[in-house]
């Protein structure tokens, strides 16, 4: 596909804000995400008319209405499929999928995993708030076991999905995690997702202030997060803790938390490598309930980023190859087929 270089106007984030009133609850984590996306758009080097936001259904899925780009607010769970068709039809567009945990991991789970394995060049922002917000507070596929909600008065029996493990398991080329409470980091992660050619899945911990306030508090609160979260940096050792006193070491393929004051040095630690599929898988298993003493910290940042051929590029090269081999399709020849006869 030939891409013409466009002369881009000087955009500001305002250019990406539509005239529609934003209707999320005051204090909802969605506001920060919207702001960061609007803030990022002028810098990705894509003309406004070439950007499309596709959403499913749920609180987060109202997102496209607030972006002054092209947008589709589709059906519950189906955004990755709608976006796949759009991207295949128009590979030159920058296509973003906005979805929530109920939308993409429950009703639309099938489309998410298939988008990931096909590797269509989509940027999927998964707003995970561990609850159904729009339908007013039922547990979601990421809610922890035992959670009491409107539909689980005796506690949820469902084991929650681990989106990182799901993505790595589906052979995603890009997975990263961000949080609404760290907008700068989130913006940098979304930029990375944009740069990755292929399906990028970004899980964003998003606070639902009304139905699940504080769900991620222990990872996102500025006072607590140093001890419970770990920020991944390419080529850097895995270190966390208020005083950077802890590290992660690999004992064979088994990770362990070590104290840097207890005989281990930086040189002993696991060095983050975004291109290592095995390490990405181990990282995805850092999913402990943080109330457990000595558990692994929750990783944020890019787990895995490896470029692979995209579905749409391969399809279009098959199409070009078909033209090369057989020539531009001749409709009259096709209509006649291989055997005809004449009736006089």
């Amino acid at each position: 596909m030939e891409v013409k270089e466009k002369q881009l106007p000087e955009y500001s984030s305002k250019d990406f804000s539509s005239d529609q009133d934003v209707r999320w609850c005051p204090g909802c984590g969605d506001y920060t995400i919207l702001k960061q996306v609007q803030n990022l758009m002028p810098d990705i080097g894509v003309a406004k008319e070439d950007i499309v936001f596709v959403a499913g259904i749920g609180c987060s899925s109202r997102f496209p209405y607030y972006m002054d780009t092209y947008g589709i607010h589709s059906i519950h769970g189906r955004a990755p499929a709608v976006a796949t068709g759009l991207k295949i039809a128009r590979p030159e567009l920058s296509v973003w999928v906005i979805t929530g945990d109920g939308d993409s991991l429950s009703i639309g789970g099938n489309h998410l995993i298939h988008a990931l394995r096909r590797n269509v060049d989509l940027n999927i922002l998964l707003f995970n708030n561990e609850i159904y917000g729009l339908t007013k507070g039922q547990y979601s596929p990421t809610s922890p076991e035992g959670m009491v909600t409107k539909s689980t008065p005796f506690g949820s029996l469902d084991h929650p999905f681990n989106p990182a493990a799901l993505a790595i398991g589906a052979d995603a080329g890009f997975f990263a995690r961000a949080m609404d409470r760290d907008p700068k980091h989130m913006r940098s992660i979304m930029e990375r997702a944009h740069k990755h050619k292929g399906t990028s899945l970004v899980e964003i911990y998003q606070n639902c202030i009304v139905f699940n306030d504080g769900a991620f508090e222990s990872y996102t609160d500025k006072k607590l997060r140093d001890d419970t979260s770990i920020y991944l940096e390419q080529g850097e050792p895995l270190i966390f803790g208020k005083e950077s006193q802890f590290g992660i070491r690999l004992d064979g393929h088994k990770p362990e938390v070590v104290s840097l004051s207890g005989g281990f040095s930086k040189d002993d630690l696991w060095i983050h490598d975004e291109t290592d599929h095995f390490k990405a898988y181990i990282l995805s298993r850092f999913f402990d309930n943080n109330s457990i003493e000595g558990g692994f910290p929750r990783p944020f940042g890019v787990f895995y980023d490896v470029q692979k051929p995209t579905y749409e590029d391969q399809l279009h090269s098959q199409m070009n190859m078909a033209v090369e081999i057989r020539g531009e399709g001749d409709l009259d020849a096709l209509l006649a087929g291989s055997e005809t006869w004449v009736v006089k």
């Binding site: 008319e49 259904i57 092209y70 589709i72 589709s74 189906r78 068709g85 399709g329 409709l331 209509l335």
Partner: protein, 617 residues
């Protein structure tokens, strides 16, 4: 002395054997040869439901029926003149399709003890003997032995030799009907181009079959069927699913659009996916989705992006697409939904035909979600109607249903194919870019046909959002205003009705423009109804028929046509679906139904009976 050749107006042959006996291939080869000989024809494959049912059982029997003649042929034939059976199970499953006094060609090698027991004949039964005493002409051959003798020098392993049995039989049939073998010979050469020894064996078996028929004077008479007097022109043979594929390619070309086809495998629609996936050099992208929902929602995404978008399935899969169809209705984007109907409910009888998804197509959605419904009436008509579906969806920005069915999808007939140039043009316009200084773009501002603009991403100044929530008229913004919702509901209905201005008027197919009885049909029943009405009309009865290809909206003149007849009969292969729509739209007219839901097409004779009864009522 040569066997005497008798002229016949029309003949029906049925080939039946085990799934592994190659009966579909034998039938389609006979079909091509017959078409090349200039006969009119109609075919009906009869597949077993299971891919590999146990060999030798009735469940594993595969059949192929062809009706051909020197006159116009509208159906695959009610009953056959010649029945070819490769084993006992094939006889058991098909004897009922043979006319009284008909010819049976039986492969006696398929009538051993084990074959009889697999076909569930009793230990004392001798079905071939029973046939002889029932007035049929029985020709017994040991095809296995004859084929092995024919190919004993081929050097091929016995398994490959036995695979040529069907060609030996085909050779005999070619002799019986005085046919030329060239087309089949070149077909075999092409098919086995990479395995010349297999090609040679098949060709030898074919030719030896022919010679054997001749040398042994197997039959007391041979037949010849003269070319049919059909409209002059260049013809080819085509099945409904093939015609559907070609229609999509034609619409792609004539609209100048790129095409996106999202589909999920399902019987009997999959051949459309297979066919289109080969046409990448025609600008057609096919996408085999993870499920039916993704198949259609990906198509909606592609349509938003400016592609001619289609999805295909059969009834059970269409049910899964329902929510997305209503999304396409409210988005007012072009989308063609192909339903190759099969017998339901649920999984039903996947390889059997039925017309029972009309109401699903008309009404089977949440909310008020009107769309256009079209139905082809024969295999070749699939071309015209899918082309129409593409034209209407693009010109009116409204989803269009295309209701084919298993019978016409797999059935074949000669087709006087059109040229690219002769096809009606398809007018599509994308909305033009806008400057920042212009008035804001209104995605739901309509033209005089109530059509909204197709504003595709990549167009500067048209950035807009669409979605499944109710829209404010003109702006397309979310609206919960009660009056707006009422207005938009009426606009969507009205917009569908406007399509009636852009489709052909309804025609009487057979009989007079007015009279005692009008038979109204739709879809694949066309051939049987037409043949029945034609015969009755020629016998002097006041009966006409009209066949609906545009079902929603109906052609403008349809109501007045109905009023010119005293009685109206509506035959359908369902429990009465079109008749419900007719009663709803024409409450002052009385309609009677004729409904049989057996998974098979109507026979001409049953329709003649039903129509005669109505005439005499």
């Amino acid at each position: 002395m040569d066997t005497k050749i008798f002229e016949k107006d029309d003949v029906t042959i049925r080939f039946a054997g085990d799934s592994g006996d190659g009966m579909q291939l034998t039938g389609s080869q006979f079909t091509n040869t017959t078409a090349l000989a200039g006969n009119d024809l109609s075919t009906l494959p009869d597949f077993p439901a299971e891919i590999r049912a146990p060999a030798g059982t009735v469940a594993g029997v595969s059949g192929f029926q062809i009706h051909f003649g020197s006159k116009q042929i509208y159906t695959p034939g009610d009953a056959c003149d010649v029945l070819v059976v490769m084993n006992a199970a094939a006889l058991k499953a098909n004897l009922k399709t043979l006319k009284a006094g008909g010819i049976i060609i039986a492969n006696v090698d398929g009538f051993g003890k084990r074959d009889l027991s697999l076909a569930k004949y009793g230990p004392e039964d001798d079905p071939l003997k029973d046939i002889q005493t029932s007035g049929y002409t029985l020709i017994q051959l040991d095809v296995t032995k004859l084929t092995r003798a024919s190919l004993k020098e081929s050097g091929l392993p016995p398994k490959d030799v036995d695979r040529c049995k069907n060609m030996f039989v085909l050779g005999i049939i070619y002799w019986l009907f005085s046919r030329d073998m060239d087309s089949t010979v070149s077909f075999i050469e092409k098919k086995f181009a990479k395995k010349p020894e297999i090609a040679a064996a098949n060709i030898k078996a074919l030719k030896d079959g022919y010679t054997y028929g001749n040398a042994t004077q197997l039959f007391s008479e041979r037949y010849a069927v003269q070319p049919a007097k059909i409209e002059p022109g260049t013809y080819r043979n085509i099945t409904g699913n093939e015609a559907t594929v070609l229609g999509v390619a034609a619409a792609t070309k004539k609209s100048g659009l790129n095409t996106f086809f999202g589909s999920y495998p399902i019987t009997p629609a999959s051949d459309i996916l297979h066919g289109l996936s080969k046409l990448k050099h025609y600008g057609i992208k096919t996408f085999q989705a993870e499920d039916e929902i993704s198949a259609i929602t990906s198509a909606i995404g592609a349509s938003f992006g400016g592609n001619l978008a289609l999805t295909s399935s059969s009834g059970a899969g269409i049910a899964l697409k329902t929510e997305a169809i209503s999304l396409a209705v409210i988005l007012e984007l072009p989308l063609v939904i192909i339903n190759v109907q099969r017998a339901g409910p649920s999984t039903g009888m996947p390889t059997k035909t039925e017309q029972s998804d009309l109401l699903q197509a008309m009404y089977g959605r949440a909310g008020e979600a009107p769309l256009v419904v079209l139905a082809p009436q024969s295999p070749s008509d699939c071309f015209d109607m899918i082309y129409e579906a593409c034209r209407i969806t693009v010109e009116h920005m409204i989803p269009v249903f295309f209701l084919s069915d298993g019978y016409i999808a797999n059935g074949a007939e000669p087709w006087r194919f059109p040229t690219t140039e002769s096809l009606r043009s398809i007018t599509k316009t994308f909305a033009k870019p806008r400057e920042a200084t212009e008035e804001p773009f209104l995605p739901y501002l309509r033209d005089d046909k109530l059509v909204r603009p197709w504003a595709i991403p990549g167009t500067p100044g048209l950035e807009h959002r669409v979605g499944g929530l109710e829209k404010q008229d003109k702006t397309g913004n979310i609206s919960y205003d009660p009056d707006n919702h009422h207005h938009m509901t009426m606009v969507r209905e009205g917009k569908k009705n406007v399509v009636a201005e852009n489709i052909p008027l309804q025609q009487i197919d057979e009989g007079e423009e007015s009279g005692k009885l009008l038979v109204v049909g739709w879809g694949s029943t066309f051939g049987s109804i037409k043949a029945a009405v034609r015969e009755l009309a020629s016998e002097g009865h006041s009966v006409s028929n009209t066949h609906l290809r545009y079902l929603n909206p109906f052609p403008k003149n349809f109501g007045s046509m109905l009023e010119r007849f005293d009685k109206i009969l509506v035959p359908e292969i369902n429990n009465g679906q079109l008749i419900k729509v007719l009663r709803d739209q024409f409450p002052n007219i009385n309609f009677d139904g004729y409904n049989r839901v057996r998974g098979v097409p109507f026979t001409v004779s049953e329709l003649k009976d039903a129509i005669s009864q109505k005439l005499n009522d």
